[in-house]
Symmetry: C2
Subunit: 391 residues, 2 copies
């Protein structure tokens, strides 16, 4: 499950509290072509601002990640700290600091404990290869309850490449990737421009199609690294095996995104929402996101209450074009609304809400736009987790 | 507290369940000039569609309101039922049915029990004047925990007018007035055009500046009636006392809106959010609404956790123009962020979150746009109420 040439290590810097590894290093033995997608939040954490500059080179050698502290809203000091993390890792790894990316996740507005981070970075760098991919995934967890890993093999004639990803994220998940970090690695050789376009596409249908609570983080980052150690000739957008690579990247991203929703803070159900028959894809997505962020719908599903009235109210107020009289709603396989009118299938619909995975489908019958979004239910436990987070 | 010439009655039709008055009548002894504002939800309840037609006349004589059933997503049958309610009330009151407005609130997608509503409407009409304003306000409650009334006197030289309002609403409250009904009555004589402009202004700064959960209803309606029984000469936009009338109407609306938020489902704290220094007023409002709808912020305040990082993250992702480096955040009177950097005033800020009313102020220092929005915290109880609503 680990692409050739990628090595990992973890260390403890007691960033928020002692007793766990809260630093991880991803290291590629050779320069990798790289692409990244960052939060669209206007407030960006220091490491995000650093990485946004560095990614212009289209190259990467290492990523250093800490949990327990987001290094956001920390001003000039935060920028200095992020740069020092890259520079120390570069020094101990013997690679240019411009090829070291820094990612942070955790509490906002608190300065990093650099006195404890500095020696830990040296240990990280010197120990690269001593940790598994799963240990790296585990070190970057915050409120996550399980580490998130996914991988796919890609056949290229006689050669085989591997695309692997790890990510973290459980709360504050919204369109455009909220407090989530994701690192995708492949041993395939991929041109950085082609890698960028493949990554954007993969992100749109995965991390940008999930929402836990509609909040968006200051730190979201997805970095893809392709180090070419599979020995294939460099893939560009026109290459024969580029489609297979893109598919693998998208599948890994989708699987990781699904894990994030499944791990949604306090969630008991994974909810798949589909809006079809919208005027176009953007309208379908806007409608699906509105449903996925409706507190009333999320609480109803938690209560296994097939309250399709809330579906109608949420799609109607989403701001998309629709005709109530043409709208059908399905709860699982049961049609609960037909041409805008509830059909009284409550008992059957209720059964569709039992179990850990449920689906809501809204058919607007007004066009060919279609979108699918994943979310989870809203529970008392979500409130408890988030009322007590920093305290 | 009741303007001259307005009379009320209530009746029980056991619409959702027996044991309470769930129908109310507001009746004006003479034709009143009228204005109204309705939900902007694309899915509109049958009574909303009916009232939208009728308000074109600029006149009203009566409003009939039921709780327990929204008569939304009920198709043709729903339209017939709404029309029949107006027609029966008109018949028994002896007024044109076109001057009778119908409002419904409650569960979506269930047909009204017209067999029980028909005789109750006759009782309502025959008993007009037998109920108090408060009893009328009580009959339209759903998850509200208290009836909501407000009034203001208006001096016009030697004459005195009265502006009174009642409303219901506790959950599903969002920008643009979600599941709330409000009826404003005055015995002043006001031209219907002037009434309309005064009402729009009053609604913008009250019901359109509150949010409990970001959801928007299919039934929101605000109706204002001015029956002229105070004997003043008809107020138009240019009249000397029109300003005083507008102020009274706005104050009543603001007070009712504040009551709705205070009664927010499961809420323990009223939160006043101000965004100032935005590029313009619309941007300020968008930013304030984004903060008010942030689940992470609402749960943090519930936990009395001065998590200003969540304030920064929410304003940054609101889509408005801002410069992190110019942004200050105040929790109550305590400055917690200065020029984008957290200043470590956590202990003082925490004290500002004790008690039932708290304030968050974001100063963007980039313009003169300013907006204030009221919301409430998000608690386990909100989840419980809404997970169990129809069951």
């Amino acid at each position: 499950m680990v692409p050739r040439g990628f090595r990992f290590s973890v260390a403890e810097a007691a960033i928020k509290r002692p007793g766990r590894n809260d630093l991880a290093l991803i290291y590629s033995e050779t320069d990798a072509s790289a692409a990244a997608v960052f939060t669209s939040n206007r407030v960006k954490a220091a490491p995000v601002r650093l990485d946004m500059k560095q990614i212009r080179s289209g190259k990467a050698r290492a990523v250093i990640v800490n949990s327990g502290n987001a290094n956001a809203a920390t001003g000039e000091r935060g920028m200095r700290d992020a740069r020092e993390m890259a520079s120390l890792a570069g020094k101990w790894l013997g690679v240019p600091e411009g090829l070291v990316y820094v990612c942070s996740t955790g509490v906002i507005g608190v300065a990093l404990p650099m006195d404890r981070i500095r020696p830990a970075i040296r240990k990280l760098a010197e120990g690269h290869g001593r940790a598994s991919l799963e240990e790296a995934a585990r070190a970057m967890m915050t409120t996550d309850t399980f580490p998130k890993l996914s991988w796919r093999k890609v056949k290229m004639g006689s050669r085989t490449g591997l695309v692997s990803g790890i990510c973290k994220g459980a709360g504050m998940i919204a369109p455009h990737m909220a407090t989530m970090l994701c690192f995708m690695m492949t041993d395939m050789a991929v041109d950085s421009g082609a890698l960028k376009s493949a990554l954007r596409e993969a992100v749109e249908d995965s991390f940008n199609s999930i929402t836990v609570d509609g909040d968006m983080s200051t730190n979201d980052t997805v970095i893809a690294m392709a180090n070419g150690m599979a020995g294939n000739s460099v893939l560009t957008a026109g290459s024969r095996h580029f489609g297979a690579f893109k598919r693998a990247l998208s599948e890994v991203a989708a699987e990781l995104a699904r894990m994030i929703v499944r791990d949604g803070e306090g969630a008991t159900k994974l909810i798949e929402i589909e809006v079809s028959g919208a005027k176009n894809g953007a309208q379908a997505k806007k409608g699906a996101m509105a449903l996925a962020n409706s507190l009333l719908l999320k609480t109803a599903i938690y209560g296994e209450d097939p309250n399709v009235g809330r579906v109608m109210a949420a799609i109607g107020s989403s701001g998309i074009e629709m005709d109530e009289k043409k709208t059908d709603v399905f709860i699982g396989k049961v049609r609960a609304v037909r041409k805008g009118v509830l059909v009284g299938a409550e008992r059957e619909a209720r059964k569709e809400l039992k179990g850990g995975e449920v689906s809501i489908s809204v058919r607007l019958n007004s066009g060919s736009g279609r979108a699918r979004v994943l979310t989870c239910d809203l529970t008392e436990k979500y409130v408890r987790i988030n009322a007590e987070y920093t305290t």
